[in-house]
Amino acid sequence: MSPRQKSLSGPGRDERGMASVAVLIFSIVAVLILVANFKLNYAVSVSGDAFDTFNSQMVEKNGVAQVVKESILALRETAVVNSGNSIQAEIQNRLANLGFPAGVSLTLQASANVPAHPFFPFVSPFVPAVSPLALAQPAYFSTSPRGLAGMGGLFSSLAIQGPVTDMGTLVYTFARSSTQAPGEDWTYTVNANLFSVPLTNVDFVAYGLPSSGLISAQAPSLPPGTLGSGVSALVVTSNNPATDPTAYPDLFAPAGQEQLPYQFRNAASFSWNAYEYLWNLGYQDALMNAAKAEADPGNQAVSVIDLTPPAGALYDFSRPAFDPANPGNYPCNPTIAGLSSSGFTLTVDCSAVHSQVIAIVDAEGVGTVNITGSPSSGAPFVLLIRNTAGNLGRTNVVFSGNNSCPAIFYLENANVTFAGSPQIEGALFLDPTTVAAGNVTWFGHFSFYGPASPLGTLSIAMNDDPAVKAALAGLAPRVLLVSTTATRQ
């Protein structure tokens, strides 16, 4: 066969071989590129998925931590109503309401019961079986008392203001399983740190009552000079720019019910829920009962005729004073060290008070209480002035003279004035119906109902005083603060 004939019949063996080699080389290069591209994309995909999984774990574990925190607060928050469920049931209820990816489940493996959170007057000496919780000034970094570092700034900003009680750490573990990814089964451990914080630790509070009253849409006006250096102030108001000009629309959702960001959870616990509890009958009655049970010997006048005259430290304007010469005139008020009466005027001399708690009841709104300060320090005490007269009239309360004996004053439906611009150490709690006027320099704690601020008529210069707060802490109502941190094993 001639070459001519060969070319006409198609490529020769050599040409076919060269073409095959070229195709082979091309194939090899193509395969190399495809493999490289596949490996790179696969690696990126795996790395990206791993990072997504890592982020999901962070969200999941922090969600579990929040479940534990809210469950503990449901049982022990200083609030009018606490759940009667077990902590296990509370956690389980919240877990059931969480959404997880398909096949993922979380179950509570181990849990600790939440200890009681007793405070005055539910502890000794009126309930001797219950010991008061020890108080100590916390630090951020210390071993004894335990430091607050790592428990969150929102938590520590409230817990660092004065002496607190460390109620310990409760441990909860959760088993996390995934039917679709068995390699992603693990355990979450949640450490819940509980601290009992006296309400008087925060210097200045404009409180709200979301259940029985209102919350301030916007913060009350503060006259210049109200807050001194280092004074801690707390108010929780609306985040709606339409109702509070200090708020911004950056993160506000105008549709639907206004939501309070979780950032304010502790602040709401302190400035809303605790005051609902404080002005509720349960706490007020407990103070009254404590006053009745007050066993100070100075509260019982000596009578040779009546060997068992009325005792305690509850004074009622509706009853006459005890008359040693006429002991049969019952019911009557006991003699109380530091109190002297004249008609419907009662004088409380802070320098002469021996009782730990004194209650004054004015059911008809006819009384006047003059509180004269003590020039020297003394044992702290609680003075409750309870007016249940409603619109019949407020109880007049007049502070006069400087006071260096720290006291907690709970004033209900009162008309408060200050004579001569006194300087007073203590805690002043005004209920929503109390009004106040005058000038005063206050060292310690002051709280009032935000929607009915007295600051239009009352000129108060607040000062932070750690010594006063420390003195009052044992007698003050407490707020339970909870910090939870979760880890994955």
């Binding site: 395969v31 190399l32 990072f51 430091g147 520590s156 985040n239 708020a247």
Partner: protein, 282 residues
């Protein structure tokens, strides 16, 4: 021509066919394995800027470093009591509503916030507050003419202990005649477990910072729907009650595996995998 077997018969026997198939599979497997070995390492275009090497995005090597970086960063945030974000837009809604505000210089390596340690926790809610409280400490480090993508994130325990310093920077330069945009992210973590601050080194290099990654784009590709940088969001500012309540800050780091504005008309626009809403307080 039909195939002829070694035994002179036309066609392959079943054994021959199977053997051929096995041989083919072995050859292809060897080829794939060899190719995989050859492409174990990726050669990536790189440039040097201010003595540091930047890889052209997308870069898998830098992406791996970025994943390590962000795992450490997320852990630092998770364990912090408060987080400061300096730089970015809207650092204060009335005093600095537009920005960009100054970040801290990359030479900032303090391990404590000296002024804040003794301050009232109520006064330090926002990064703006912290900037004012620690003005004496921060002022020498505040950057001038900051880029919108520049920011510094400090994670803090208590009010004083800095547990990490994350820096994010964007530079523009002309390198080898090409206009480029360079992104740098560094993270320095601080170990306080001994009670004293120890700067944690990178386990690979044995030097600080603890983690970093650097990438660059051609300048005309640096177009983003969600550009890297920080944007502060606010609940409120209340001068009377001294309530500077800052919400979470949106922080977006450059992503080594995102093609930025490679196809600006595409429906799927570039979004970093490393975006966070950073709460100032936890």
């Amino acid at each position: 021509m039909k195939p002829v077997s070694s035994f002179g018969r036309e066609g392959f026997s079943l054994v021959e066919a199977v053997a051929g198939l096995v041989l083919f599979v072995l050859m292809m497997g060897a080829l794939t394995y060899g190719a995989a070995s050859l492409f174990k390492f990726q050669s990536q275009p790189e440039v040097t800027y201010q003595g540091k090497i930047y890889s052209l995005a997308p870069s898998f090597g830098e992406f791996r470093r970025a994943v390590t970086f962000h795992q450490l960063f997320v852990l630092a945030m998770d364990q912090a009591d408060s987080i400061l974000v300096l730089g970015g837009q809207r650092s204060h809604p009335t005093l600095d509503p537009v920005g960009p505000s100054s970040a801290l210089g990359e030479n900032f390596s303090d391990t404590t916030l000296t002024a804040a340690a003794g301050s009232d926790a109520f006064q330090g809610y926002a990064s703006w507050d912290q900037r004012e409280i620690n003005a004496t400490q921060f002022d020498p480090y505040l950057t001038s003419s900051p880029d919108p993508a520049d920011f510094t994130v400090l994670t803090v325990q208590g009010q004083s202990r800095i547990t990490s310093i994350a820096q994010h920077r964007r530079y523009t330069a002309t390198i080898n005649g090409e206009n480029v945009v360079l992104y740098e992210a560094t993270l320095q973590t601080v170990d306080w477990s001994s009670g004293s601050p120890v700067l944690v080194t990178n386990p690979s290099t044995g030097a600080t910072p603890t983690s970093s990654y650097r990438i660059y784009y051609a300048a005309n590709e640096d177009v983003w729907q969600q550009p890297p940088g920080a944007t502060h969001f606010w609940y409120r500012t209340d001068v009377s009650w001294d309530r500077d309540q800052e919400g979470p800050t949106r922080v977006i780091f450059a992503d080594p595996y995102v093609l930025a504005g490679q196809d600006a008309q595409a429906q799927v626009t570039s979004v970093s995998q490393f975006a966070y809403f950073v709460p100032q307080l936890r």
